[in-house]
């Protein structure tokens, strides 16, 4: 087992409404290894984006952490708790220790600043000179298929695909230890998507850091993830080596989701999962998947399933446990 770069301990995160707190990440435990590509999968509203926001320290109202902890470099003697750090301290970690690629690229770039200046702006306090940074930038631009004029443009002059590539370059530039990417290519065309994912994978392999990719697209996970975290309704239902999860999914949700996906060249009839994910306002008792699960037994309706570890995998299901 390799050392971890970040540990999530019993994390509970909620959105505050006028009436009560809506818990969307519920008692979550996860250990992020120092190197590799971790894929987080789940449907919209399963809490995957909220989890990433907490891990990146983007905890702004109405989002609130109710309990639990996020430890940085937990194996070190001077491990830090992200949740106890001030905004200023977290800012110092951003782009250097960890970076974040959000789905909507426009929200990260300053609309009234040239791309080049935004890069230099991040450089304050950095030892490398402008010329060295320019050299590095031009290498990344070439790899991303972006013309150099991009540096002199304003964000609105670029297409969505180009902006997303600029953000990815920015996220890679200072070689951070963790890169969080939340649906990094969802708005893009498949051909561009493939190019960008391959480039991110190559960068991860050469930097030997950790890339956390959040997407609902299981095909993307199959292509790039080493390790998978399956989420359903605010909980982790299954984790494991990506290859094993695709070959032999254990949790009924993972199993049914993977077998529902149509494949080109295979006309086999595919069935979706009946029903829909529960609302956080009205969660079912017991296992949250039980109303849609064909294998549900009485205990599933009463008690939450425990997390069971089998070799390098974990699964949260009464039938498997």
């Amino acid at each position: 087992m390799c050392a971890s770069v970040m540990n999530v301990i019993d994390l509970v995160a909620a959105y505050q409404t006028s009436e009560r707190n809506i818990v969307v990440v519920d008692r979550l435990n996860l250990s992020l290894p120092k190197t590799g590509i971790i894929g987080i999968a789940g449907e919209s509203g399963c809490g995957k984006t909220t989890l990433i926001k907490v891990l990146y320290g983007l905890i702004e109202p109405p989002l609130k952490v109710l309990s639990g902890d996020v430890l940085i470099r937990p194996d070190n003697e001077n491990a830090l708790s992200l949740l106890k750090m001030s905004e200023k301290e977290i800012n110092r970690l951003r782009w250097r220790f960890f970076s974040y690629i959000p789905q909507a690229s426009m929200s990260v770039l300053n609309p009234v600043m040239r791309i080049e200046d935004q890069f230099f702006d991040q450089m304050v306090g950095e030892k490398v000179g402008k010329s060295e940074l320019r050299k590095q930038l031009s290498e990344y631009l070439n790899r991303m298929g972006l013309p150099h004029e991009v540096l002199r443009s304003y964000p609105h002059q670029l297409s969505g695909g180009m902006r997303q590539r600029v953000i990815i370059i920015m996220a890679l530039l200072f070689q951070p230890r963790i890169i969080f990417a939340d649906e990094p290519t969802t708005a893009l065309d498949v051909v561009v998507q493939r190019g960008i994912l391959e480039m991110m994978r190559d960068a991860q392999r050469s930097l030997k850091n950790l890339l956390v990719v959040v997407t609902h697209d299981m095909g993307m996970h199959y292509q790039i993830s080493d390790f998978m975290v399956m989420m359903y309704s605010g909980k982790i239902v299954e984790t494991g080596n990506a290859e094993e999860i695709f070959k032999d999914p254990l949790h009924p949700y993972t199993k049914m989701l993977i077998s529902s996906l149509p494949r080109i060249g295979d006309k086999l009839k595919r069935e979706g999962i009946k029903g829909s994910p529960p609302s956080f306002y009205n969660l079912p008792q017991g296992c949250r998947f039980h109303p849609r699960c064909p294998y549900a037994v009485p205990i599933c309706r009463k008690e939450e399933p425990p997390v069971v570890n089998i070799n390098n995998r974990s699964v949260s299901c009464h039938i498997i446990g």
């Binding site: 991009v150 609902h216 095909g219 695709f246 494949r263 080109i264």
Partner: protein, 325 residues
């Protein structure tokens, strides 16, 4: 493609072109979003035809023209032989009874302040001439049950009380009320969760065989397109570059663009092989005089840059716009 007589055709698009003006009249440029596109659907043989392409390929513009939301700059669309842009006032109802839309975001398709059942009843009264409440209830109940819902569950409720999957079923039910011959579905499952997506897609297959409805399925998702389509048209920068049976086109693509597209799909069970090169030439491609794919094509020759390849019919029934064939 042009051998059929117009009467035997359910829907025919003939040399459809749509040009948008970008910017001012003096300094603006023109962008050909749909460029000389032709296809048809036959009467009596319900088919699912997919129009597939990336964002900006003109697929949604094409859908909007088929629904009379946008008027074409050139060419025409014939529905059962009638030009849909030259309809008389009386024929507009017939148009809505024959062709119905399903849109991408079900939450936007329903007005949040109007009860869902009101929508359905209004459609029944306006398009099916239901003269009394009982008749309307019968029609609505029937269409709801064909999508796996029932009136009891829907009555008196507002759109926000349903999940995305249920709402999308409801918009299918609404489209079914006038018993249309064609449904145009523009990205109907891209806003629906993966676990529910197949239920909607299977519903289309079901409706096709049960009610003889033809579908035009507009999507960027090649896997579901392969799963449900009989026919497929691959669009690139406003033009159809390959057209034919979905099975043939998607398992043995000929046009270099179709090939590139299929290679980029993140498939399960088959890892990507080699690397793809990214480029930033999007705008140039729309204005190209020759083949629009020539900037990226691995097989490009000088002649490709000068002249645009026409769609050419091949022995296996498909059509390809590439000088190599």
């Amino acid at each position: 493609m042009e051998t059929e007589t117009p009467q035997s055709l359910l829907l025919k698009a003939e040399n459809l072109t749509k040009v948008f003006r970008i910017g001012g009249i003096v300094l603006g440029t023109r962008l050909t979003a749909v460029d000389n596109v032709s296809f048809y659907l036959e009467h009596g043989k319900s088919k699912i035809m997919s129009i597939v392409g990336e964002s900006g390929c003109g697929k949604t513009t094409l859908a909007k023209m088929m629904l009379r939301i946008l008027e074409p700059t050139g060419g025409k669309i014939l529905l059962e032989g009638r030009d849909i842009f030259k309809l008389k006032k009386k024929q507009e109802k017939w148009f809505k009874q024959t062709i119905q839309p399903i849109f991408q975001n079900p939450l936007e398709a329903f007005n949040p302040l109007i009860r869902v059942d009101d929508y359905l009843f209004n459609t029944a009264t306006n398009l099916c001439d239901a003269s009394n409440k009982e008749e309307a209830i019968k029609i609505v109940d029937e269409s709801l049950s064909s999508v796996g819902l029932d009136l009891e569950r829907v009555i008196g409720k507002f759109p926000r009380e349903f999940s995305g999957g249920e709402l999308q079923r409801m918009s299918v039910a609404r489209a079914l009320i006038p018993k249309p011959k064609i449904i145009i579905a523009d990205e109907p499952v891209s806003n629906v969760d993966a676990s529910i997506r197949m239920n909607i897609v299977n519903l289309f297959l079901d409706l096709k065989s049960k009610y003889n409805i033809s579908f035009i399925y507009i999507t960027h998702d090649l896997s579901t397109a392969y799963y449900i389509s009989d026919l497929i048209a691959i669009m690139y920068r406003g033009s159809i570059v390959e057209y034919g049976s979905a099975e043939i086109v998607m398992t043995d693509p000929l046009h270099p663009y179709t090939e590139t597209l299929l290679q980029a799909v993140p498939r399960i069970g088959e890892k990507w092989d080699g690397k793809i090169k990214l480029s930033g030439i999007e705008v140039k491609e729309f204005e190209a005089t020759g083949c629009k794919f020539s900037f990226r094509c691995p097989y490009v020759k000088d002649s490709c840059r000068q002249k645009r390849p026409p769609l050419t019919a091949l022995k296996d029934g498909r059509e390809v716009a590439c000088f190599r064939y």
